[in-house]
């Protein structure tokens, strides 16, 4: 829309203050009002008048528990975002290559056990020598990103904890049955799968597990959780009802400490919005400040650049 004359803008001020003008007209009026010594104050005054009308509505009392929940979520998300935006990014300049390796595209990842847990999951466990610990006192800048990349394991979409438990039990029963009638090689092939399931379940339970609920802006309930087993250094993130990223984009997980924003890999939820990621990464047990997921270009970024999709304070 072309620039408005003063008279045109002035005649629309009340409608703009009431939010009863079209977006095009409202934009044109506001642009004019920014520079007009008469329309600017007039519009501000009308908006204050409209706000004063709000004092007449009957007082509505929100349920205290729900209000406290909203307040808590707001503060948790605010804290998570603050930490995500303020923590420095550690690592060498070619950090992006390390991040890319988290998705299985890099050259430096040396998975130790790539045997699929089920048809829809993969776990990469790096050699012990590549596992790293960050220094809670501030040595995050020295983090070896290739090592981080190698230690982050990715389990792709679909699995559920309960399903894993029941599947584990089913496999146990199958192995027990096979042991009695089948050659040893059959149970040999099933045993690692059971071990993987047991490992995942153990990682999600126990006194050392810290659970970080992950929220988005509109949900009343968490749409994901990060479970961090501080004894075993296992990280398991589940999401549900998460919309798919935009075409050409992916979601990237960040572990935020006071000193660093550590990429924990990229993922895309399945058609139902579910995801499960499994990482193994050593972090000082008091270092985690928050967990955040941002939308980034395919392959991930060395530092968060896109909008925060979900987040939670530790």
């Amino acid at each position: 829309m072309n620039a408005m004359t003063h008279e045109e803008a002035f005649s629309e001020l009340a409608a703009v203050a009431l939010d009863a003008a079209s977006p095009e007209i409202a934009n044109a009026v506001r642009t004019h009002a920014e520079a007009c010594p008469e329309c600017g104050p007039e519009l501000a005054s009308m908006e204050e008048t409209i706000a004063a009308l709000g004092t007449l509505v009957p007082s509505g009392q929100m349920n205290r528990g729900r209000s406290a929940g909203i307040r808590s979520r707001l503060l948790m998300r605010a804290r998570a975002e603050r930490e995500l935006r303020s923590a420095p990014v550690p690592g060498p300049p070619d950090i992006a290559r390390g991040v890319a390796s988290l998705t299985g595209q890099g050259q430096r990842m040396t998975p130790g056990a790539q045997r699929p847990v089920t048809g829809e999951t993969r776990t990469f466990t790096p050699p012990e020598s590549q596992r790293v610990r960050t220094d809670a006192r501030g040595s995050g800048r020295g983090v070896n990103w290739y090592a981080i990349a190698a230690t982050i394991a990715l389990v792709i979409t679909g699995a559920q904890m309960l399903r894993m438990t029941s599947e584990r039990n089913r496999l146990r029963e199958q192995v027990a049955a096979l042991d009695s009638v089948a050659p040893a090689q059959v149970s040999d092939s099933a045993a690692p799968m059971i071990a993987q399931r047991d490992s995942m379940i153990a990682a999600m339970t126990g006194p050392d597990v810290k659970v970080v609920p992950l929220m988005n802006q509109n949900a009343r309930e968490p749409v994901g959780r990060m479970m961090w087993n501080r004894a075993s250094n296992d990280w398991i993130m589940v999401t549900y009802n998460l919309r798919p990223p935009k075409p050409g984009m992916t979601y990237q997980v960040w572990l935020v400490t006071a000193d660093a924003k550590i990429s924990a890999g990229t993922f895309k939820p399945d058609a139902a919005g579910k995801t499960m990621m499994h990482a193994r990464y050593a972090l000082d047990r008091d270092a985690l400040r928050s967990v955040a997921v941002t939308e980034e270009p395919e392959g991930g970024m060395p530092a968060p650049t896109g909008p925060m999709v979900i987040a939670g304070a530790a």
């Binding site: 003008a21 204050e48 707001l74 603050r82």
Partner: protein, 203 residues
């Protein structure tokens, strides 16, 4: 504009605008405790407004959360010269509520509801929990509404509560668009003048 015509800053009920402005500064500095304090000060007023507009507690809660989240994200866009923090917050919340009303209308879920008018507000009992200055402001607003000619009040109601555009109001009332614009402007001016008395008395 004559400075005396400046409408009052709606800040009496929950403390001074200076306190709110200080909270906004802290929010700009990424202090989430300031967001909590701002929430405590304004959640009741904001919730009351959006609940009255939406008539749906769940949606009203969503709008409250979205509004405070926007306040956190966009705190640096707040300009004290353009009005009180409360005005800024309530304006954000009302716009979000109106967006939802418009979405309902597009989905034909919620035909325009005439009961969202000022008629029930003109005789609403004061909020017993409010402080004196807030009640006084309400009385000024209520008195100003009572003085409005019916046709001006109707236009104001349709814009304020239903999220109708001026063109839609013209269609709904059967009045020419120019008439609607004029009535809306006159209503606003008449409302503002008595309210300035409140501001003058408060200073």
């Amino acid at each position: 504009m004559n400075p005396s015509e400046r409408a009052p800053s709606y800040s009496g009920e929950n403390g001074s605008n200076a306190e709110d402005t200080a909270l906004i500064r802290r929010i700009v500095d990424a202090d989430e405790t300031a967001l909590g304090a701002l929430y405590d000060r304004w959640v009741r007023s904001l919730y009351s407004l959006v609940l009255h507009l939406l008539k749906d507690p769940d949606e009203a809660e969503d709008v409250v959360e979205e509004t405070f989240w926007q306040a956190w994200r966009k705190a640096d866009s707040y300009e004290p010269s353009k009005g009180a923090v409360s005005t800024w917050l309530l304006t954000i919340g009302r716009r979000k509520a109106l967006d939802r009303l418009r979405a309902r209308k597009r989905n034909r879920e919620d035909p325009i509801q005439d009961e969202r008018g000022f008629s029930d507000l003109r005789s609403t009992s004061p909020d017993p929990g409010s402080e004196a200055e807030g009640s006084e402001l309400r009385e000024h607003v209520r008195a100003a509404l009572r003085e409005l000619p019916e046709e001006q009040r109707e236009v104001l109601e349709l814009g304020y509560f239903s999220g109708l555009s001026q063109a839609e109001i013209a269609e709904r009332t059967g009045q020419p668009l120019g008439t609607v614009k004029t009535r809306m402007r006159l209503a606003m001016q008449k409302l503002r003048a008595p309210l300035s008395i409140h501001r003058g008395a408060a200073q």
